[in-house]
Amino acid sequence: MASLAQTSTLKRPPETPTRLAVRRFMKSTSGKIGLVLALVLILVALLAPVFKPYDPATDRNYIERLKPPSAQHIFGTDNLGRDVFTRVIHGSRISLRVGLIAVAISLTVGTFLGLVAGYFRGWLEIVIGWFTDIMLAFPGTLLAIAIVAVVGPSLTNAMIAVSITQIPVYIRLTRSVVLSARELDYIQAATALGAANNRVLFRHLLPNALPPIIVQATLSIGTATLETAALGFLGLGAQPPAPEWGAMLSDAFRGGYALNSPWTMIFPGLFIMFTVLAFNLLGDGLRDALDPRALR
């Protein structure tokens, strides 16, 4: 970033990196759309209890089972007479929370390991690299499923499994940034001046790695949402009565009514898609803003 900011000083008055990023982001159509979608989703999640204060899990009406969309139930009702709309908007709370936590876990662990590997090199780098290669030898979905098969199905376990599969991405990303950044003059200088390792790591190297990490983290929220829903669909994730979108689809499929009451499957799926889309777009926009050289 530093070098880019310097080149622009030649032409116009100095601009801080942050303002430059904001300006670039606002030029990105996908970024703007993604931001709006994500904000709407977050708002929906926050306001879900206000919209429909009743409990989406236990509020049921047996007589109103599997009713198609109507003025009263705009998304129809499920096999227990629960309002699909209510369940879907409450589902956004689960999905966003799971997405954020899963990404936070993989980001923290992965970035730390990547920093360590890139900075200290030596056997640490070899071991961490080995670990990364092994993890990446399994397709992500399969690895997550295998982990849940070992630890047992639950939303928490699914979340942890999904975050584990994402760790190698952050290791590789951070390590490569650190490897190039540690050759930079000012970091060489800091090291030569005898700055403590952790100071160099977290004060100097980490900030360099941040932009691509932020971009990756945003994209990861989408991936995590998708994978968690997939585990939920297979019955290996969220358990009842949680209104998790994947579990709702699973109910509809395994209860046999997905195909004769299609609203029970259309809306949860749409929301999964919109959530993933929102964070993918937002990630694209952030990449344009923060990391314009990255290959698209």
Partner: protein, 529 residues
């Protein structure tokens, strides 16, 4: 219809073959574990085996009444301690081996005797024999003492105790009579996809593609003349109900079982399909484990029986497909109903009062386990659990839902201290009350515990069941089982939630299918237009 794309494309290729061959396609809700008889416990395997094997006795279509099978007649002597069966003559296995008393003895030994040399599969243990008949050869509790070949077509079972229900039990779907020649020849491969299975039944094993389908061909030498009425049967393994219904609508399967009740309306609205009800022969219950302190008090258990709105739940989840009446056994066993039993009425206020009397005015925490799979008695266990949970929370019981994969669920409930409360059910194997009471209430009860964490021992009830087990006087047995009905109702250890009529379906053009209350039946009588 509109199957234009496939239709047009396939027409040229298929048209020339001519479809004179009548193939019946069954949408099976899963894959058989094995086709080896006596070594299974699951309904899917039984269904497939019913087509390949015959049984010593059979059941009247659509009922639990015992009729002649491979045995044409049988009688008990010495107060039901000796059972003699006369075999049908001239019957041959599909590989040409003659069916005789030696062949029957070979099969029974294989199931009963752990040391039998024809038991090859290391991981098999023929558990079902021990479950139904007290134990294996050499076990103290084994009801069977000896098997004797009286002559070529007469076989005799000598029992340690009177077993009045023996014909019905030995005729249950587990115990198909297999060809000794085939078992000896194939060894460990017998009954697997890599081997075959040989019986005397209407259809013969042709091929088994794992994960996909099992194909059976007509047995041209079947001893029942005129049967089977189709040339082959294909079991397609389609686990999920939505997918199976889609196949049924598309016409790529002819009939299927295990359809969640929520789909009844949809079936009735489709002119090409026909909803069929299987006569009820099951119970779905909520087990309350007295090993969990609050549930040790019968008042608490009765409070739960009152708090759960069974009628509303049955109405919501089964509609016309289910009923609840407080009896553990379904209505097809109503001879054995006690006239004193009328179900607890739904009454949350009274339930709360009972809880308070028992010392839990504010309720308590309860882990409620629901099954991860669909069973005829609880097709949508998870949702039903949620409904019961909502009713229980109304009287202050805070329910936490739990589940595990199916095998672990079945296993872990028997590990002390067991599950606090769990859903399970039972489909009868044969039409005798012993098949309902013994597995659930005979001491020691493996899946309910006392305060010390030992399997529950109900002495009074057990004495009654023992007496009924050994009596060959039908009137006395009826009276004893009515007493048992009374006692189990009061104990409220297993609260009967539903007796369901499982929903099955066929396409128009299929006729002659008579679903058995026992859960499986032969397809030999089915006609396809």
């Amino acid at each position: 219809m509109k199957r234009t794309l496939v239709g047009l494309l396939a027409l040229g290729l298929l048209g020339s073959l001519g479809l004179a061959q009548k193939t019946l396609v069954f949408g099976s809700n899963g894959e058989p574990v094995t086709l080896e008889s006596g070594n299974i416990t699951d309904g899917i395997s039984i269904y497939a085996q019913r087509q390949i094997y015959d049984y010593l006795v059979d059941f009247k279509p659509g009922s639990t009444d015992v009729i002649a099978g491979l045995a044409t007649s049988w009688f008990a002597s010495n107060e039901s301690k000796v059972w003699t069966f006369r075999l049908r003559q001239g019957v041959k296995f599909q590989d040409g081996t003659p069916l005789d008393a030696e062949a029957v003895k070979f099969n029974v030994n294989r199931w009963w005797d752990p040391k039998d040399p024809s038991r090859i599969n290391a991981a098999s243990n023929y558990e079902i024999w021990s479950e139904l008949f007290g134990g294996f050869k050499g076990d103290k509790a084994s009801v069977l003492k000896d098997i004797q070949v009286v002559d070529k077509y007469t076989i005799r079972f000598i029992m340690n105790t009177p077993v009045p229900y023996f014909p019905a039990a030995i005729g249950s779907g587990y115990f198909g009579i297999a060809s000794p020649t085939a078992i000896k020849a194939e060894g460990a491969k017998y009954g697997t996809a890599a081997g075959s299975a040989v019986g005397t039944g209407p259809y013969m094993f042709k091929s088994w593609q794992p994960g996909d389908r099992l194909t059976l061909d007509k047995n041209p030498n079947y001893w029942q003349k005129g049967l089977p009425k189709t040339d082959s049967v294909v079991f397609r393994f389609i686990k999920d109900p939505a997918a199976r219904l889609a196949e049924l609508k598309a016409g790529s399967i002819d009939f299927t079982t295990d359809i969640p009740p929520a789909n009844l309306k949809d079936l009735q609205g489709d002119a090409n399909l026909e909803a069929v009800f299987r006569p009820s022969f099951n119970v779905g219950y909520l087990a309350l484990n007295p090993g969990y302190k609050p549930l040790a008090d019968p008042k608490v258990r009765q409070a739960i029986a009152m708090a759960v709105n069974k009628k509303a739940i049955v109405n919501a989840f089964w509609g016309e497909l289910g009923m609840t009446n407080g009896h553990f056994m379904p209505t097809s066993m109503k001879t054995y109903y006690s006239s004193k039993v009328t179900d607890y009425e739904y009454n949350p206020t009274k339930a709360k009062q009972l809880l308070a009397e028992a010392g839990y005015p504010n309720g308590f925490d309860l882990e409620l386990w629901y099954m991860p799979v669909s069973r005829p008695y609880f097709p949508t266990a998870k949702e039903i659990a949620e409904a019961m949970g909502a009713d229980l929370s109304a009287i202050g019981i805070k329910v936490k839902f739990q589940t595990k994969d199916w095998a672990a669920y079945l296993n872990d409930r028997k590990k002390a201290p067991g599950f606090q409360a769990y859903m399970l059910g039972w489909t009868g194997d044969y039409g005798d009350p012993s098949d309902w009471y013994n597995p659930h209430f005979a001491s020691p009860i493996a899946d309910l515990f006392d305060a010390a964490g030992k399997p529950l021992d109900l002495k009074e009830l057990n004495a009654i069941l023992d007496k009924a087990n050994s009596s060959s006087n039908q009137a006395e047995r009826v009276q004893l089982y009515q007493q048992a009905d009374d006692i189990t109702f009061g104990l409220a250890l297993r609260i009967p939630i539903v007796h369901s009529q499982p929903l099955v379906a066929q396409r128009k053009g299929i006729s002659g299918w008579v679903p058995s209350p026992l859960g499986s039946e032969t397809f030999a009588t089915i006609v396809k237009k």
